[in-house]
Amino acid sequence: MSDVLVAGTQITLDDEGFLTDPSEWSPDVASELAANIGLELSDEHWAAINFARTDFEENGETPTLRRMAQAGGVSTKEMFRLFPKKPAKKMAYVAGLPKPVGCV
């Protein structure tokens, strides 16, 4: 765990670098975390992030790729385009959510 200053906010990250508390997140934090992994956030990224945040609030779980496609309206192909290589984890990282735990 480490406390760091990101976008002027004090946030706590776990050993891997994920936010430990989703409530410490803000859009500015997201932009900075995104830049940290080489992403520049477009409207499409924001749509995915906002859905993921809302879904997490409602269900207490970070959506998996399948959930993003089924309920979030972001297809698996789009997710790979927006967040290349490790889409679910990248999205969770930027959205300030825990890594998805679902297998599918």
Binding site: V6, R66, F80, P84, K86, V104
Partner: protein, 170 residues
């Protein structure tokens, strides 16, 4: 201070495409319960940026055969995992019942059926291959297979494409 702090920020490893890491999954069984392990693992690997190939052979061919892919069955007969008396499992209708129950369970967990799973895997960049000998044995060609199967290949072809891959046999 809002500059990028990648020097100081602990950053998860989200960009290695596991350089050189490659997975080949051999799906040799076509029952509903044995179709899923390969599909779940493939899906997980793709989500981690790992190049993934699925090779469908023998009974596993049913997973990509258009005629059968949506009708795979789970038979409890001779399957100790059911923890049920074997004598009961042979009763008429038991396979249909068990298949129905398993499908319901999967649906409850929001796990896709086989055709949708294959769609998801290929959307994520996974590669599907049919086995030449299985095709010949069943007198099937590429037209009989799920559209996204990239080709029917021989065992030797599979050896070539799985070079350097971690291989899982299901």
């Amino acid at each position: 201070m809002t500059a990028t702090m990648s020097d100081t920020l602990p950053t998860p490893d989200l960009d290695s495409d596991a350089e050189g890491r490659k997975l080949a999954i051999i799906c040799s069984k076509g029952s509903l319960d044995m179709a899923y392990p390969g599909l779940v693992l493939a899906n997980a690997a793709l989500g981690e940026g790992i190049e993934t190939h699925l090779f469908f052979t023998f009974w596993g061919f049913d997973i990509i055969n258009k005629e059968t892919m949506d009708h795979l069955q789970f038979t409890p007969l001779g399957n100790p995992a059911t923890h049920m008396p074997p004598s009961l499992m042979g009763l008429p209708g038991m396979t249909a019942f068990a298949t129905h129950m398993m499908k319901k369970q999967m649906e409850g967990l929001d796990i896709p059926d086989v055709p949708e799973f294959l769609e998801m895997i290929t959307d994520a960049g996974g590669h599907l291959w049919g086995c030449r000998m299985s095709a010949d044995m069943q007198h099937l060609d590429e037209d009989d297979l799920y559209d996204r199967v990239e080709g029917i290949i021989s065992a030797a072809d599979f050896m070539e494409l799985s070079e350097g891959a971690q291989t899982i046999f299901v």
